[in-house]
Each structure stands twice: as C-alpha cells, then as structure tokens.
Amino acid sequence: MPLAVSDAAEVDSVDQEYLWTLNFGPQHPATHTTLRLVLKLDGEKVVDAVPHIGYLHSGFEKLGEDLDFNQYVTIVDRMNYISPMANEIAWHHTVEKLLGIELTPRCKYLRTILAELMRLHDHLLCVGAQALDLGAFTAFLYGFTQREKIYDLAEYASGQRFHASYTRVGGVMFDVNADWAAQVKRFTEGFKPVHAELHRLLTRNRIFIDRCKGIGVLTPEDAINMSVTGPLARASGVVRDLRKDEPYLAYADLDFKVVCAKGGDVYSRYMVRMAEMMESIKIIEQAIENIPAGPVNVDSVTDVVLPTKPAVYRSIEGLIQHFEVLMPNRGFPVPTDEVYGATESPNGELGFYLVGDGSNRAYRCRTRPPSYIHFSIFPHLIRGHQLSDVVAVLGSLNIIAAELDR
C-alpha cells in the first residue's frame, strides 16, 4: 500500500479578506480535553489552524524538582491519564537508569505486563473516541467495557483504579498474586472476541472509511523531521519501536511484531492501533505464562527500596531502612549526573531528561511528552481539509491535554 492519496485541496492564500475565523474549543465535545484551535476557513475548507494550549498547565516539572523520586510518581500518573501506569514505568525507568539499578526478573515481567495493559487501555479509548467523533457510538462503548476490566486489574494490583502510583524505585508497591495472573489470562481471552467485533464494526464500515481515508496524510520524511514517534510514525512507514530498538524490561525475551503501515493517513493510524492491540495481547499472554518467581523488589541496593513489613516490625535493620527511605531529610545517594531515558509509551516515545544533584530529588526532570510534539504537527495535517475532518485528525493524534500542558 503506497502513501495514501491526500484529500486536501489546494490552499491559495491565508490572508484573503473573505476568510472567516472559527474558534474550536477550549470546551468542545470533540476536543475531549481542554485545548483550543483557531481555524481560518474558506467556506468549509480549513486554510490555517493555530493551536492555543496551556489551559491545563500546572507546573508538573517544577513540582518534580521538589518531590522525591517516589513521590513524583503520583504527579507523573496524571500526565497521560488514560494510560497512567505507562508514565510511571517510563519515569522509574529513567530514575533507575540514573541510579544504575537492575530490576529483578519478576519485576521486569510484571512491569511489561502492566505496560502492555496500558497500551490496550490507551488504544481502546483512542480508537473508540475516534469512532465516536465520526458518528459510530457502539465501538466506543465496546472499547470502554474492556477498559473497565483493565481498571479492575489495576485496582487488584495496586488498590487504585485510575491513578495507581504503583511503581517504586527498584520495584513496585507490592507484588501481585496468582489470582491476579489468572484474572489477566481471563481478560486476554475475553478481549479477543471484542477486538474482532471492533474490526467488524469499523474496519470495513463505509462511512468510517470515507471519513478516514486520505485525511491528514503524513509522509515518512515529515514524520521524522517533525519528531513524530509511536503509532503515528509507524502508520507513516517509519519502522521504529523502542521495545525492539532499545529493548528494556522483558521485551527482549518476548516474541512480537512491530506493526507498520504505509498510508500515513487517519485510517492507517487506526489500523496500526488495532493491530498493536493484538500484539499487546500476545505479549501479555507470553509474559503471564513465563512470569518468574522470586522477589519483586531489588535486594542488592537495599537502601533504596522499602523493606517488607515483617522486616520492619521484627528487625532493627529493617526499621532503620524504612526510616531512611521515608524521612524527607534522609534518602539515598544519587549520582551527580544527568541522563535521558525513554520508553515506548502507547502514544510514542515518552522520555525524561533527568538531572541528579546528589540528593533523592530530581534537580531537573524534563518530560518529553509525545502529545505535545504530535499536536504541533496538527496545522500541517489539517491544511486544505474540510472542517469536519478536524475531529477525525484530532482523534487520530490522540491528544491528552494533561500531558500536553503538564
């Protein structure tokens, strides 16, 4: 399949007097979150679009300089809130890279399973909401039912449905049990027929195809030049997936494919997300079968991780360690250096540029948010398309405003 033939009309000039301006957002049902677009229209043709963002800016990066590595995970959770644990995993991946911690095999597998569950979480909402914006309501509900089950799994593991705050430096909050693993297996079995149903609802749906094909075409050269990553880049034919290219966690041991398309339009992005969900299911099934036994937190660097409860109550060393980790004026030594670490989050490359100054607070914790970078290409994608295509392109970019503004 070659690059999709773009539907966009020629744009002659953006300064004609007869053009009129339409304010799209900040509170519009199809923006899903709080963002604003000022569109310049020639009839129904979008001539230019100027995004205005920052409505949800709440200084996450400034807060990160004040909270320690374990506390900041609660803030990170709230960035891309439709796949919260993917952010936590990315954050602690970078922190552990700075500290030089090698996770235990069980923790690697557990985090891999959670990361893939979050990928399903994100893709289900993205595909469902995209269909919802284009008038297909059922797919959204089917997707959301499955998301509810992932919420249950997150709650079972961490005690919190939404903002789980589950990972810790060198491990996770608490280990999962065999019943959780059985529930994950049951979920993957139940997911497959729903996925097929979503395919039947949308993939060959005449209206859906007409609204998606040839809309918002992004060439591979532009995708690379504009720093686009993740499913968007892969839908344009850029073969890059950090899970394969820079394997982290347990991805090197597991068998899965990197899904790519060549169309580069909204429909290709939908297809890539749909196929990625099946790959995620494949990864979860392998990982849950092979999850190793043993401790979930690292033991070798015990001054970083909270000790187990019996150790706290029954030994003085455990009590001291508990105290050292939790007290704000204590903490563990951190190298005075800086590191960039990234993981493949559902939306693309989620990276952190972390500067350590010797204390257990980040001196600077820059987030590289995929939504921010993807939204910056929106004017490029929409130029020349119809007004009704705005929601199609927005849906396919999967913009999460909390991550966009931080």
Partner: protein, 162 residues
C-alpha cells in the same frame, strides 16, 4: 556515529565530550552550536527527539548558568547523541534549529516560555504554556515555587462588567 576527533576537526577544538550510562554527550560553545547541529544532521541524525534547557544556578560545582540540551537520534541506525550548549546571562540567545528540524518549533517555544532563552530566527516565538501577559520565567531556579502572586493578581471580571 562521528568520533570526537571528527567533530573537533569540523567545528573546532573547544568541544568537550562525556558519557554516562548509554548517553554520549557533546558540549559545544553557543556560537558553534548551529554549525555542529547542521553538520550532525548531515551525518544522519535526522530526528530531534527533545530540546530542553537546564538551569544550573544551584547545581554543585556548576560553571555556566544554563545549558540548552538537544537530544538527537539517527532513526536508521538507532544511535542517540546529546548536544549541550552553555549559556550565560545576559546573552541568552541561540540560533533556531527549526530550519533543520521542523519538530523544534514548539520545543523552542517552551524553552523560551520557561527559561527566557531566545531562539533567533524562530518563525513564531511566543509564550506557549503560560499566558501571554506573564512576565517571569517559571522554571528558572530563582523563581519561587509559590510564584510571585501572579495568580492572586489576575484581573477579576464581574458579571456586570462582562
């Protein structure tokens, strides 16, 4: 990936190099930064993954006030390279790299918004996350976490005035 000797031969001898974990860093003076980045793009670093800045005001043993950080990626080979440029007030300006990588557009706007570093030649250098009338640069280390009371001094529009 170009070696330090190749970079020095191309741009000048005052280039420094360091590495930590799997990150390789090149530190280049501000006036040579654009030459180096343009050359690195020709060498295959076709994606600008991230562009940010760090304020080293309170950092132990820091020499320069700011560093602007470019994280580059060669998509074909998967190599990464971090380029850092020191900046000291009052000369807080750098040439824009939007001419090399279009993805730098919003990232440079964010750095301008948060640190007040001006990217000369940027097509649309406005504040992006903070409101336009904001005067401070919030991610600088001398900006207090509570702010200077900007929030309390927002003009209040009553129903009768609107």
């Amino acid at each position: 990936m170009p070696s330090l000797e190749e970079i020095r031969a191309k741009v000048g001898a005052e280039i420094d190099e360091s590495s930590f974990r799997d990150n390789r860093r090149v530190i280049v003076p501000a006036e040579k930064a654009f030459t180096l980045l343009a050359w690195l793009k020709e060498q295959g670093f076709n994606m600008l993954v991230d562009l940010t800045a760090v304020d080293y005001l309170e950092y132990p043993k820091a020499v320069d006030r700011f560093h602007v950080v470019y994280v580059l990626l060669n998509v074909d080979s998967g190599e990464r390279l971090v380029v850092k440029t020191p900046l000291n007030p009052p000369e807080l300006d750098l040439p824009t790299v939007t001419t090399l990588w279009k993805g730098a557009d919003w990232m440079e706007r964010e750095v301008y918004d948060m640190y007040g570093i001006v990217f000369a030649g940027h097509p649309d250098l406005r504040r992006i996350l903070m409101p336009d009338e904001f005067t401070a640069y919030p991610l600088r280390k001398d900006y207090p976490r509570k702010g200077y009371g900007e929030r309390h001094n927002f003009p209040v529009i009553t129903r009768s005035e609107s």
